[in-house]
Protein backbone atom coordinates (compact mmCIF):
# COMPACT_ATOMS: atom_id res chain seq x y z
CA UNK A 1 0.00 0.00 0.00
CA UNK A 2 1.33 3.39 -0.84
CA UNK A 3 0.35 6.93 -1.52
CA UNK A 4 -2.34 9.27 -0.33
CA UNK A 5 -4.99 9.52 -3.04
CA UNK A 6 -7.96 11.76 -3.62
CA UNK A 7 -10.76 11.61 -6.16
CA UNK A 8 -11.45 14.87 -7.98
CA UNK A 9 -14.99 16.00 -8.72
CA UNK A 10 -15.63 17.50 -12.10
CA UNK A 11 -18.66 19.36 -13.35
CA UNK A 12 -19.31 21.43 -16.45
CA UNK A 13 -15.75 20.87 -17.58
CA UNK A 14 -14.23 22.36 -14.42
CA UNK A 15 -12.87 21.03 -11.16
CA UNK A 16 -15.14 21.47 -8.15
CA UNK A 17 -13.86 23.23 -5.03
CA UNK A 18 -14.06 20.11 -2.86
CA UNK A 19 -11.31 18.54 -4.99
CA UNK A 20 -8.86 21.21 -3.80
CA UNK A 21 -9.97 20.84 -0.18
CA UNK A 22 -9.25 17.10 -0.51
CA UNK A 23 -5.76 17.99 -1.72
CA UNK A 24 -5.34 20.25 1.30
CA UNK A 25 -6.25 17.33 3.57
CA UNK A 26 -4.09 14.87 1.64
CA UNK A 27 -1.01 17.09 1.40
CA UNK A 28 -0.32 17.38 5.13
CA UNK A 29 -0.90 13.64 5.68
CA UNK A 30 1.35 12.77 2.76
CA UNK A 31 4.12 15.06 3.99
CA UNK A 32 4.06 13.34 7.36
CA UNK A 33 3.98 9.89 5.79
CA UNK A 34 6.65 10.85 3.22
CA UNK A 35 4.32 9.57 0.52
CA UNK A 36 3.23 11.23 -2.72
CA UNK A 37 -0.26 12.64 -3.28
CA UNK A 38 -2.21 11.27 -6.21
CA UNK A 39 -5.57 12.32 -7.62
CA UNK A 40 -7.94 10.21 -9.67
CA UNK A 41 -9.53 12.34 -12.37
CA UNK A 42 -12.54 10.76 -14.07
CA UNK A 43 -14.49 12.14 -17.00
CA UNK A 44 -14.46 12.80 -20.71
CA UNK A 45 -11.61 14.92 -22.07
CA UNK A 46 -10.50 16.04 -18.63
CA UNK A 47 -6.72 15.49 -18.86
CA UNK A 48 -6.24 19.24 -19.42
CA UNK A 49 -7.44 19.83 -15.85
CA UNK A 50 -4.45 18.00 -14.35
CA UNK A 51 -2.30 21.16 -14.11
CA UNK A 52 -4.76 22.75 -11.75
CA UNK A 53 -4.56 19.70 -9.50
CA UNK A 54 -0.74 19.81 -9.58
CA UNK A 55 -0.90 23.48 -8.64
CA UNK A 56 -2.96 22.59 -5.59
CA UNK A 57 -0.68 19.83 -4.33
CA UNK A 58 -1.14 16.67 -6.39
CA UNK A 59 2.10 14.93 -7.40
CA UNK A 60 0.40 12.51 -9.76
CA UNK A 61 -2.88 12.63 -11.61
CA UNK A 62 -4.39 9.39 -12.81
CA UNK A 63 -6.70 10.13 -15.70
CA UNK A 64 -9.61 7.80 -16.52
CA UNK A 65 -11.35 9.07 -19.61
CA UNK A 66 -14.30 7.77 -21.59
CA UNK A 67 -17.27 9.47 -23.25
CA UNK A 68 -19.56 7.38 -21.02
CA UNK A 69 -17.95 8.99 -17.98
CA UNK A 70 -18.82 12.53 -19.10
CA UNK A 71 -21.50 12.80 -16.46
CA UNK A 72 -21.44 11.34 -12.98
CA UNK A 73 -22.86 7.82 -12.69
CA UNK A 74 -22.32 6.22 -9.28
CA UNK A 75 -21.96 2.62 -10.45
CA UNK A 76 -19.49 3.48 -13.19
CA UNK A 77 -17.44 5.85 -11.08
CA UNK A 78 -17.31 3.35 -8.20
CA UNK A 79 -16.07 0.66 -10.58
CA UNK A 80 -13.39 2.89 -12.08
CA UNK A 81 -12.15 3.89 -8.62
CA UNK A 82 -12.29 0.23 -7.57
CA UNK A 83 -10.06 -0.68 -10.56
CA UNK A 84 -7.68 2.11 -9.62
CA UNK A 85 -7.45 0.81 -6.04
CA UNK A 86 -6.68 -2.71 -7.26
CA UNK A 87 -3.92 -1.40 -9.51
CA UNK A 88 -2.37 1.18 -7.16
CA UNK A 89 -3.16 -0.12 -3.64
CA UNK A 90 -3.46 3.30 -2.02
CA UNK A 91 -2.67 3.67 1.66
CA UNK A 92 -5.20 6.47 2.11
CA UNK A 93 -8.14 7.29 -0.16
CA UNK A 94 -10.12 10.50 0.35
CA UNK A 95 -13.32 11.47 -1.43
CA UNK A 96 -15.75 14.33 -0.81
CA UNK A 97 -18.71 13.91 1.55
CA UNK A 98 -20.76 15.54 -1.16
CA UNK A 99 -23.91 14.57 -3.02
CA UNK A 100 -21.99 12.41 -5.47
CA UNK A 101 -19.34 11.28 -2.96
CA UNK A 102 -22.06 9.89 -0.70
CA UNK A 103 -23.51 7.97 -3.63
CA UNK A 104 -20.28 6.09 -4.28
CA UNK A 105 -18.83 5.76 -0.76
CA UNK A 106 -20.93 2.70 0.12
CA UNK A 107 -20.47 0.98 -3.23
CA UNK A 108 -16.75 1.60 -3.09
CA UNK A 109 -16.49 0.31 0.49
CA UNK A 110 -18.12 -2.92 -0.67
CA UNK A 111 -15.76 -3.17 -3.66
CA UNK A 112 -12.65 -2.44 -1.57
CA UNK A 113 -13.90 -4.69 1.23
CA UNK A 114 -13.09 -2.07 3.86
CA UNK A 115 -15.52 0.19 5.62
CA UNK A 116 -15.48 3.93 5.14
CA UNK A 117 -15.11 6.66 7.75
CA UNK A 118 -17.55 9.31 6.65
CA UNK A 119 -17.88 13.07 6.98
CA UNK A 120 -14.41 13.64 8.46
CA UNK A 121 -13.54 17.11 9.72
CA UNK A 122 -9.99 16.37 10.91
CA UNK A 123 -7.25 13.88 10.05
CA UNK A 124 -4.24 13.29 12.23
CA UNK A 125 -1.30 10.97 11.82
CA UNK A 126 -0.44 9.22 15.11
CA UNK A 127 1.84 6.14 15.28
CA UNK A 128 1.56 5.66 11.52
CA UNK A 129 -2.24 5.49 11.84
CA UNK A 130 -4.57 8.03 10.32
CA UNK A 131 -7.00 9.16 13.00
CA UNK A 132 -10.19 10.42 11.44
CA UNK A 133 -12.51 12.67 13.43
CA UNK A 134 -16.14 13.06 12.50
CA UNK A 135 -19.21 14.62 14.05
CA UNK A 136 -22.04 12.31 15.10
CA UNK A 137 -25.54 12.95 16.41
CA UNK A 138 -25.72 16.03 14.26
CA UNK A 139 -22.51 17.45 15.69
CA UNK A 140 -23.42 17.12 19.36
CA UNK A 141 -20.45 14.76 19.68
CA UNK A 142 -17.25 13.98 17.84
CA UNK A 143 -15.77 10.54 17.36
CA UNK A 144 -12.31 9.52 16.26
CA UNK A 145 -11.83 6.30 14.34
CA UNK A 146 -9.05 4.44 12.55
CA UNK A 147 -8.99 1.84 9.81
CA UNK A 148 -7.65 -1.42 11.19
CA UNK A 149 -7.33 -3.49 8.01
CA UNK A 150 -5.85 -2.21 4.81
CA UNK A 151 -6.60 1.12 3.27
CA UNK A 152 -7.86 4.13 5.22
CA UNK A 153 -10.93 5.17 3.22
CA UNK A 154 -12.63 8.38 4.30
CA UNK A 155 -15.09 10.93 3.03
CA UNK A 156 -14.27 14.54 3.85
CA UNK A 157 -16.81 17.16 4.89
CA UNK A 158 -16.91 20.10 2.46
CA UNK A 159 -15.34 23.26 3.89
CA UNK A 160 -13.64 21.37 6.75
CA UNK A 161 -10.20 21.66 5.14
CA UNK A 162 -8.68 24.76 3.62
CA UNK A 163 -8.00 24.88 -0.08
CA UNK A 164 -4.19 25.17 -0.54
CA UNK A 165 -2.87 28.30 -2.21
CA UNK A 166 -2.13 27.31 -5.82
CA UNK A 167 1.47 27.18 -7.02
CA UNK A 168 1.04 27.84 -10.73
CA UNK A 169 3.38 25.71 -12.83
CA UNK A 170 4.09 23.15 -10.08
CA UNK A 171 5.06 19.98 -11.97
CA UNK A 172 3.43 16.59 -11.73
CA UNK A 173 3.10 13.28 -13.49
CA UNK A 174 0.08 12.34 -15.60
CA UNK A 175 -0.84 8.65 -15.60
CA UNK A 176 -3.59 6.91 -17.53
CA UNK A 177 -6.05 4.34 -16.23
CA UNK A 178 -7.60 2.11 -18.87
CA UNK A 179 -11.37 2.08 -18.46
CA UNK A 180 -12.54 -1.52 -18.79
CA UNK A 181 -15.84 -2.41 -20.44
CA UNK A 182 -17.05 -3.79 -17.10
CA UNK A 183 -16.92 -0.25 -15.70
CA UNK A 184 -19.42 1.03 -18.22
CA UNK A 185 -22.54 -0.68 -16.90
CA UNK A 186 -25.68 1.35 -17.43
CA UNK A 187 -28.52 0.07 -15.31
CA UNK A 188 -30.27 3.36 -14.68
CA UNK A 189 -31.71 5.70 -17.26
CA UNK A 190 -32.26 9.42 -16.81
CA UNK A 191 -35.67 10.15 -18.31
CA UNK A 192 -35.76 13.88 -17.68
CA UNK A 193 -33.95 16.64 -15.83
CA UNK A 194 -36.37 19.24 -14.61
CA UNK A 195 -35.94 22.60 -12.99
CA UNK A 196 -32.20 22.97 -13.56
CA UNK A 197 -31.10 25.67 -11.18
CA UNK A 198 -27.61 26.20 -12.49
CA UNK A 199 -27.55 29.92 -11.65
CA UNK A 200 -28.35 29.48 -7.96
CA UNK A 201 -25.44 28.78 -5.63
CA UNK A 202 -25.60 25.25 -4.27
CA UNK A 203 -26.41 25.18 -0.57
CA UNK A 204 -23.66 22.76 0.40
CA UNK A 205 -20.95 24.52 -1.66
CA UNK A 206 -21.80 28.04 -0.51
CA UNK A 207 -19.41 30.09 1.64
CA UNK A 208 -22.36 32.05 2.97
CA UNK A 209 -25.86 30.73 3.63
CA UNK A 210 -28.74 33.05 4.24
CA UNK A 211 -31.60 31.09 5.76
CA UNK A 212 -35.13 32.07 6.66
CA UNK A 213 -37.73 30.48 8.90
CA UNK A 214 -41.37 30.87 9.79
CA UNK A 215 -40.58 34.31 11.18
CA UNK A 216 -40.20 35.60 7.61
CA UNK A 217 -43.99 35.53 7.49
CA UNK A 218 -44.92 34.33 4.00
CA UNK A 219 -43.63 32.93 0.73
CA UNK A 220 -43.80 36.43 -0.79
CA UNK A 221 -41.77 38.02 2.00
CA UNK A 222 -39.03 35.43 1.41
CA UNK A 223 -38.01 37.71 -1.43
CA UNK A 224 -36.26 39.71 1.28
CA UNK A 225 -34.08 36.71 2.17
CA UNK A 226 -33.36 36.21 -1.53
CA UNK A 227 -32.31 39.84 -1.89
CA UNK A 228 -30.00 39.60 1.11
CA UNK A 229 -28.55 36.36 -0.28
CA UNK A 230 -27.94 38.02 -3.63
CA UNK A 231 -26.22 40.96 -1.99
CA UNK A 232 -23.94 38.60 -0.05
CA UNK A 233 -23.39 36.12 -2.88
CA UNK A 234 -24.99 33.55 -0.61
CA UNK A 235 -27.14 30.46 -1.07
CA UNK A 236 -30.69 30.55 0.29
CA UNK A 237 -31.55 28.11 3.08
CA UNK A 238 -34.81 27.38 4.87
CA UNK A 239 -36.15 25.74 8.00
CA UNK A 240 -38.46 22.79 7.73
CA UNK A 241 -41.41 24.88 8.87
CA UNK A 242 -41.23 26.99 5.71
CA UNK A 243 -40.61 23.97 3.48
CA UNK A 244 -43.62 22.21 4.97
CA UNK A 245 -45.65 25.37 4.46
CA UNK A 246 -44.69 25.22 0.78
CA UNK A 247 -42.90 28.58 0.85
CA UNK A 248 -39.59 27.07 -0.23
CA UNK A 249 -38.47 23.85 -1.98
CA UNK A 250 -37.05 20.98 0.09
CA UNK A 251 -33.66 21.28 -1.59
CA UNK A 252 -33.16 24.44 0.48
CA UNK A 253 -33.98 22.79 3.80
CA UNK A 254 -31.23 22.72 6.39
CA UNK A 255 -31.32 20.21 9.23
CA UNK A 256 -31.88 16.63 10.18
CA UNK A 257 -34.23 15.91 7.30
CA UNK A 258 -32.54 18.37 4.98
CA UNK A 259 -28.94 19.27 4.24
CA UNK A 260 -25.96 19.67 6.53
CA UNK A 261 -24.01 22.82 5.81
CA UNK A 262 -20.90 24.35 7.32
CA UNK A 263 -20.33 27.65 5.56
CA UNK A 264 -18.09 30.47 6.73
CA UNK A 265 -21.20 32.46 7.59
CA UNK A 266 -24.72 31.25 8.36
CA UNK A 267 -27.42 33.86 8.79
CA UNK A 268 -30.59 32.52 10.42
CA UNK A 269 -33.47 34.95 10.13
CA UNK A 270 -36.77 34.13 11.82
CA UNK A 271 -35.57 30.62 12.70
CA UNK A 272 -36.12 29.48 16.29
CA UNK A 273 -33.24 26.98 16.30
CA UNK A 274 -34.97 23.68 17.05
CA UNK A 275 -32.46 20.87 17.61
CA UNK A 276 -33.38 19.34 14.23
CA UNK A 277 -32.38 22.59 12.56
CA UNK A 278 -29.24 23.11 14.64
CA UNK A 279 -27.78 19.72 13.70
CA UNK A 280 -27.67 20.87 10.09
CA UNK A 281 -25.79 24.13 10.62
CA UNK A 282 -24.06 24.37 13.96
CA UNK A 283 -20.62 23.62 12.58
CA UNK A 284 -20.76 26.85 10.55
CA UNK A 285 -17.78 29.11 11.32
CA UNK A 286 -19.85 32.17 12.18
CA UNK A 287 -23.55 32.18 12.98
CA UNK A 288 -25.63 35.33 12.92
CA UNK A 289 -29.21 35.05 14.17
CA UNK A 290 -31.89 37.64 13.67
CA UNK A 291 -34.88 37.01 15.88
CA UNK A 292 -37.46 39.05 17.76
CA UNK A 293 -37.18 36.62 20.66
CA UNK A 294 -33.88 37.03 22.56
CA UNK A 295 -34.56 33.69 24.27
CA UNK A 296 -34.88 31.66 21.05
CA UNK A 297 -32.45 28.68 21.09
CA UNK A 298 -30.74 29.91 17.91
CA UNK A 299 -29.55 32.98 19.87
CA UNK A 300 -27.57 30.68 22.20
CA UNK A 301 -25.46 29.22 19.40
CA UNK A 302 -25.09 32.48 17.49
CA UNK A 303 -21.81 34.42 17.44
CA UNK A 304 -23.91 37.48 16.84
CA UNK A 305 -27.45 37.45 18.23
CA UNK A 306 -29.45 40.28 16.74
CA UNK A 307 -32.66 40.94 18.62
CA UNK A 308 -34.80 42.63 16.00
CA UNK A 309 -37.63 42.29 13.54
CA UNK A 310 -36.08 40.83 10.42
CA UNK A 311 -38.56 42.63 8.19
CA UNK A 312 -37.23 45.95 9.48
CA UNK A 313 -33.56 45.06 9.79
CA UNK A 314 -32.82 43.15 6.61
CA UNK A 315 -33.73 46.02 4.23
CA UNK A 316 -31.34 48.21 6.23
CA UNK A 317 -28.64 45.54 6.12
CA UNK A 318 -28.99 45.40 2.34
CA UNK A 319 -28.60 49.21 2.21
CA UNK A 320 -25.49 49.05 4.39
CA UNK A 321 -24.00 46.33 2.21
CA UNK A 322 -24.61 48.42 -0.89
CA UNK A 323 -22.89 51.40 0.76
CA UNK A 324 -19.96 49.19 1.70
CA UNK A 325 -19.68 47.89 -1.85
CA UNK A 326 -19.92 51.42 -3.22
CA UNK A 327 -17.08 52.47 -0.93
CA UNK A 328 -14.93 49.59 -2.14
CA UNK A 329 -15.08 50.55 -5.83
Amino acid sequence: MSGVWTVAEVSDGGIKGISFELLGAARSLANNLAEPVGTVLIGHEVANLADELFAHGADRVLVAEHPALASFAPERHARVIGDFATAYAPQVLLIGHTGSGKEIAGRLAARLDVSVITDCVALQLVDAQVRCTRPIFGGSMLTTAVATKGITFATIRPKAFARPAPAIGRPGEVLQLAVSAACLVARTEVVEVVNETSTAISLTDAEIVCAGGRGVGSAEKFELIERLAKELGAAVGASRAVVDAGWRPHKEQVGQTGKTVSPKLYIAAGISGAIQHLVGMRSSDTIVAINTDPEAPIMKVANLAVTADLLEVIPKVIEELKILKGAAV
Binding site: L108, P135, G138, M141, T143, T188, V191, Q256
Partner: protein, 263 residues
Protein backbone atom coordinates in the same frame (compact mmCIF):
# COMPACT_ATOMS: atom_id res chain seq x y z
CA UNK B 1 -43.91 -8.88 -5.65
CA UNK B 2 -41.82 -8.36 -2.53
CA UNK B 3 -40.39 -5.12 -1.17
CA UNK B 4 -37.98 -4.86 1.75
CA UNK B 5 -37.74 -1.63 3.76
CA UNK B 6 -34.68 -1.26 5.99
CA UNK B 7 -35.78 0.37 9.22
CA UNK B 8 -33.28 1.56 11.79
CA UNK B 9 -34.06 2.09 15.40
CA UNK B 10 -32.35 5.30 16.58
CA UNK B 11 -32.21 7.37 19.75
CA UNK B 12 -34.48 10.40 19.63
CA UNK B 13 -32.64 13.55 18.51
CA UNK B 14 -34.21 15.45 21.37
CA UNK B 15 -32.68 13.17 24.00
CA UNK B 16 -29.27 13.79 25.55
CA UNK B 17 -26.63 11.40 24.23
CA UNK B 18 -24.79 9.04 26.56
CA UNK B 19 -22.09 6.52 25.90
CA UNK B 20 -21.22 3.40 27.84
CA UNK B 21 -17.68 2.72 29.00
CA UNK B 22 -17.10 0.31 26.09
CA UNK B 23 -17.88 3.18 23.69
CA UNK B 24 -21.08 1.55 22.52
CA UNK B 25 -24.14 3.71 22.66
CA UNK B 26 -26.02 3.82 25.92
CA UNK B 27 -29.50 2.98 24.72
CA UNK B 28 -31.13 2.10 28.02
CA UNK B 29 -33.61 4.69 29.08
CA UNK B 30 -33.16 6.70 25.90
CA UNK B 31 -36.38 7.19 24.00
CA UNK B 32 -35.98 5.54 20.61
CA UNK B 33 -37.78 6.19 17.38
CA UNK B 34 -37.85 5.07 13.75
CA UNK B 35 -35.05 6.79 11.88
CA UNK B 36 -36.99 9.73 10.33
CA UNK B 37 -35.78 9.10 6.76
CA UNK B 38 -36.78 5.42 7.01
CA UNK B 39 -40.34 6.49 7.73
CA UNK B 40 -40.48 8.05 4.28
CA UNK B 41 -39.01 4.89 2.73
CA UNK B 42 -41.73 2.85 4.44
CA UNK B 43 -44.38 5.32 3.30
CA UNK B 44 -43.35 4.88 -0.35
CA UNK B 45 -43.61 1.10 -0.02
CA UNK B 46 -47.00 1.40 1.69
CA UNK B 47 -48.25 3.69 -1.08
CA UNK B 48 -47.29 0.98 -3.56
CA UNK B 49 -49.16 -1.49 -1.40
CA UNK B 50 -52.22 0.81 -1.31
CA UNK B 51 -52.30 0.48 -5.10
CA UNK B 52 -51.82 -3.29 -4.98
CA UNK B 53 -52.67 -5.01 -1.69
CA UNK B 54 -51.06 -8.24 -2.98
CA UNK B 55 -47.66 -6.55 -2.77
CA UNK B 56 -45.72 -7.84 0.20
CA UNK B 57 -43.87 -5.29 2.35
CA UNK B 58 -41.25 -6.69 4.73
CA UNK B 59 -39.34 -4.51 7.17
CA UNK B 60 -35.77 -5.39 8.06
CA UNK B 61 -34.03 -4.17 11.20
CA UNK B 62 -30.73 -4.99 12.82
CA UNK B 63 -31.01 -4.00 16.42
CA UNK B 64 -31.63 -4.86 20.04
CA UNK B 65 -34.75 -6.35 21.63
CA UNK B 66 -36.12 -2.84 22.29
CA UNK B 67 -36.31 -2.28 18.53
CA UNK B 68 -39.45 -4.41 18.56
CA UNK B 69 -41.51 -1.41 19.67
CA UNK B 70 -40.48 0.51 16.57
CA UNK B 71 -41.01 -2.55 14.35
CA UNK B 72 -44.56 -3.03 15.70
CA UNK B 73 -45.29 0.55 14.65
CA UNK B 74 -44.24 -0.32 11.10
CA UNK B 75 -46.49 -3.37 11.12
CA UNK B 76 -49.34 -1.26 12.50
CA UNK B 77 -48.90 1.18 9.62
CA UNK B 78 -49.34 -1.67 7.16
CA UNK B 79 -46.14 -3.65 6.61
CA UNK B 80 -46.92 -7.37 6.22
CA UNK B 81 -44.12 -8.86 8.23
CA UNK B 82 -40.86 -7.96 9.88
CA UNK B 83 -37.42 -9.43 10.32
CA UNK B 84 -35.25 -8.45 13.26
CA UNK B 85 -31.58 -9.41 13.17
CA UNK B 86 -30.38 -9.92 16.67
CA UNK B 87 -27.18 -11.56 17.80
CA UNK B 88 -24.48 -10.57 20.27
CA UNK B 89 -22.02 -11.34 17.44
CA UNK B 90 -23.45 -8.38 15.47
CA UNK B 91 -22.41 -5.85 18.14
CA UNK B 92 -19.72 -3.41 17.05
CA UNK B 93 -20.51 -3.64 13.34
CA UNK B 94 -19.19 -0.82 11.16
CA UNK B 95 -21.03 0.57 8.15
CA UNK B 96 -19.77 -2.14 5.80
CA UNK B 97 -20.37 -5.11 8.09
CA UNK B 98 -23.86 -3.74 8.82
CA UNK B 99 -24.51 -3.57 5.08
CA UNK B 100 -23.14 -7.09 4.66
CA UNK B 101 -25.49 -8.37 7.37
CA UNK B 102 -28.52 -6.63 5.86
CA UNK B 103 -27.61 -7.84 2.36
CA UNK B 104 -27.36 -11.42 3.65
CA UNK B 105 -30.79 -11.08 5.27
CA UNK B 106 -32.25 -9.71 2.02
CA UNK B 107 -30.81 -12.73 0.21
CA UNK B 108 -32.38 -15.01 2.79
CA UNK B 109 -35.78 -13.28 2.61
CA UNK B 110 -35.49 -14.22 -1.06
CA UNK B 111 -37.13 -13.10 -4.31
CA UNK B 112 -36.95 -9.45 -3.28
CA UNK B 113 -37.79 -7.01 -6.08
CA UNK B 114 -36.82 -3.74 -4.45
CA UNK B 115 -35.16 -2.52 -1.27
CA UNK B 116 -35.90 0.89 0.19
CA UNK B 117 -33.67 2.63 2.73
CA UNK B 118 -33.65 6.07 4.29
CA UNK B 119 -30.86 8.14 2.78
CA UNK B 120 -29.11 8.30 6.13
CA UNK B 121 -29.65 7.69 9.80
CA UNK B 122 -30.05 10.47 12.30
CA UNK B 123 -27.50 8.95 14.70
CA UNK B 124 -24.60 7.44 12.73
CA UNK B 125 -25.31 9.58 9.68
CA UNK B 126 -23.04 7.56 7.40
CA UNK B 127 -25.02 7.70 4.13
CA UNK B 128 -23.28 4.45 3.28
CA UNK B 129 -25.53 1.49 3.97
CA UNK B 130 -27.97 1.82 1.05
CA UNK B 131 -25.38 2.00 -1.75
CA UNK B 132 -23.21 -0.64 -0.03
CA UNK B 133 -26.15 -3.08 0.05
CA UNK B 134 -26.78 -2.35 -3.64
CA UNK B 135 -23.15 -3.15 -4.47
CA UNK B 136 -23.13 -6.32 -2.37
CA UNK B 137 -26.31 -7.53 -4.11
CA UNK B 138 -24.95 -6.28 -7.47
CA UNK B 139 -28.05 -4.15 -8.01
CA UNK B 140 -28.38 -0.62 -9.40
CA UNK B 141 -29.27 2.19 -7.03
CA UNK B 142 -31.53 5.22 -7.20
CA UNK B 143 -30.60 7.71 -4.51
CA UNK B 144 -32.15 10.85 -2.95
CA UNK B 145 -35.64 9.75 -4.05
CA UNK B 146 -38.56 11.99 -3.15
CA UNK B 147 -41.19 10.00 -4.98
CA UNK B 148 -41.20 6.63 -6.69
CA UNK B 149 -43.58 4.77 -8.96
CA UNK B 150 -43.49 1.01 -9.29
CA UNK B 151 -44.55 -0.54 -12.58
CA UNK B 152 -45.06 -4.19 -11.72
CA UNK B 153 -46.00 -5.30 -15.23
CA UNK B 154 -42.96 -3.74 -16.89
CA UNK B 155 -40.82 -4.48 -13.82
CA UNK B 156 -39.23 -1.12 -13.30
CA UNK B 157 -39.20 1.74 -10.80
CA UNK B 158 -39.24 5.37 -11.85
CA UNK B 159 -38.24 7.98 -9.29
CA UNK B 160 -38.03 11.71 -8.82
CA UNK B 161 -34.69 12.38 -7.22
CA UNK B 162 -33.13 15.46 -5.78
CA UNK B 163 -29.80 15.60 -7.62
CA UNK B 164 -27.25 18.37 -7.01
CA UNK B 165 -29.09 21.45 -8.19
CA UNK B 166 -31.78 19.72 -10.24
CA UNK B 167 -34.72 17.39 -10.01
CA UNK B 168 -34.16 14.26 -12.06
CA UNK B 169 -36.56 11.62 -13.24
CA UNK B 170 -34.68 8.33 -13.44
CA UNK B 171 -35.70 4.74 -13.89
CA UNK B 172 -34.17 1.33 -13.38
CA UNK B 173 -35.30 -2.22 -13.97
CA UNK B 174 -35.99 -4.42 -10.95
CA UNK B 175 -34.39 -5.48 -8.74
CA UNK B 176 -33.22 -2.09 -7.53
CA UNK B 177 -32.29 -0.33 -4.30
CA UNK B 178 -33.74 3.09 -3.48
CA UNK B 179 -32.51 5.55 -0.89
CA UNK B 180 -35.22 7.95 0.16
CA UNK B 181 -34.95 11.52 1.39
CA UNK B 182 -37.67 13.64 2.96
CA UNK B 183 -40.70 13.52 0.71
CA UNK B 184 -43.36 16.10 -0.03
CA UNK B 185 -45.90 13.94 1.83
CA UNK B 186 -45.96 13.01 5.49
CA UNK B 187 -45.76 9.36 6.57
CA UNK B 188 -49.10 7.93 7.65
CA UNK B 189 -49.94 7.27 11.28
CA UNK B 190 -50.99 3.85 12.50
CA UNK B 191 -54.73 3.40 12.88
CA UNK B 192 -56.29 1.66 15.85
CA UNK B 193 -57.27 -1.19 13.55
CA UNK B 194 -53.69 -1.37 12.31
CA UNK B 195 -52.33 -1.56 15.83
CA UNK B 196 -54.61 -4.50 16.63
CA UNK B 197 -53.71 -6.23 13.37
CA UNK B 198 -49.98 -5.76 14.04
CA UNK B 199 -50.12 -8.12 17.00
CA UNK B 200 -51.03 -10.99 14.69
CA UNK B 201 -48.35 -10.24 12.12
CA UNK B 202 -45.13 -12.19 11.86
CA UNK B 203 -42.05 -10.73 13.51
CA UNK B 204 -39.18 -13.09 12.74
CA UNK B 205 -36.04 -12.88 14.84
CA UNK B 206 -32.95 -14.18 13.07
CA UNK B 207 -29.52 -14.71 14.55
CA UNK B 208 -26.20 -14.92 12.74
CA UNK B 209 -26.75 -18.68 12.31
CA UNK B 210 -29.73 -17.89 10.07
CA UNK B 211 -27.57 -15.90 7.68
CA UNK B 212 -25.02 -17.13 5.19
CA UNK B 213 -22.21 -15.29 6.95
CA UNK B 214 -19.39 -16.25 9.24
CA UNK B 215 -18.62 -14.59 12.55
CA UNK B 216 -15.47 -12.92 11.21
CA UNK B 217 -17.49 -10.99 8.60
CA UNK B 218 -19.68 -9.20 11.12
CA UNK B 219 -19.63 -7.34 14.43
CA UNK B 220 -16.38 -6.37 16.14
CA UNK B 221 -14.51 -9.11 14.29
CA UNK B 222 -15.66 -8.10 10.85
CA UNK B 223 -15.26 -4.38 11.41
CA UNK B 224 -12.39 -2.68 9.60
CA UNK B 225 -12.98 0.63 11.33
CA UNK B 226 -12.34 0.96 15.02
CA UNK B 227 -13.71 3.82 17.08
CA UNK B 228 -11.00 5.08 19.41
CA UNK B 229 -12.64 7.87 21.32
CA UNK B 230 -15.58 10.17 21.67
CA UNK B 231 -15.37 13.80 22.62
CA UNK B 232 -17.50 16.85 23.03
CA UNK B 233 -17.11 19.42 20.27
CA UNK B 234 -15.36 22.58 21.42
CA UNK B 235 -18.03 24.91 22.83
CA UNK B 236 -19.00 27.80 20.61
CA UNK B 237 -17.60 31.05 21.95
CA UNK B 238 -20.13 33.14 23.85
CA UNK B 239 -21.86 35.35 21.34
CA UNK B 240 -22.36 39.06 21.15
CA UNK B 241 -25.83 40.49 21.52
CA UNK B 242 -27.10 43.38 19.41
CA UNK B 243 -30.25 45.40 19.87
CA UNK B 244 -31.47 48.88 19.14
CA UNK B 245 -33.11 50.68 16.24
CA UNK B 246 -33.19 48.75 12.95
CA UNK B 247 -30.79 51.19 11.28
CA UNK B 248 -28.33 51.03 14.14
CA UNK B 249 -28.52 47.23 14.41
CA UNK B 250 -28.05 46.85 10.66
CA UNK B 251 -24.99 49.11 10.67
CA UNK B 252 -23.40 47.21 13.57
CA UNK B 253 -24.19 43.87 12.00
CA UNK B 254 -22.52 44.80 8.71
CA UNK B 255 -19.58 46.26 10.64
CA UNK B 256 -19.22 42.97 12.50
CA UNK B 257 -19.26 40.96 9.27
CA UNK B 258 -16.81 43.38 7.70
CA UNK B 259 -14.37 43.05 10.63
CA UNK B 260 -14.46 39.28 10.19
CA UNK B 261 -13.81 39.81 6.45
CA UNK B 262 -17.07 38.01 5.68
CA UNK B 263 -18.34 40.90 3.59
Amino acid sequence: MKIVVCVKYVPDTNEPKRLKSDLALQRNGVQSVINPMDEYALEIALKWKDADPALEVVTLTMGPEEAKGVIKKCLAKGADRAVLLQDPALGGSDALSTSRTLAAAIAKIGKVDAVLCGIRSSDGDCNVVGPAIAELLDWPQLTYCKEAQLDQAARYVQVQREADGALEIVRAALPVLLTVTKCAFEPRLATFKGITAANKKELLVWSLADLNLSANQVGWEGATVKVMSFSEPPPRPAGQVLSGSPAEVARKMVEYLHTLKLV
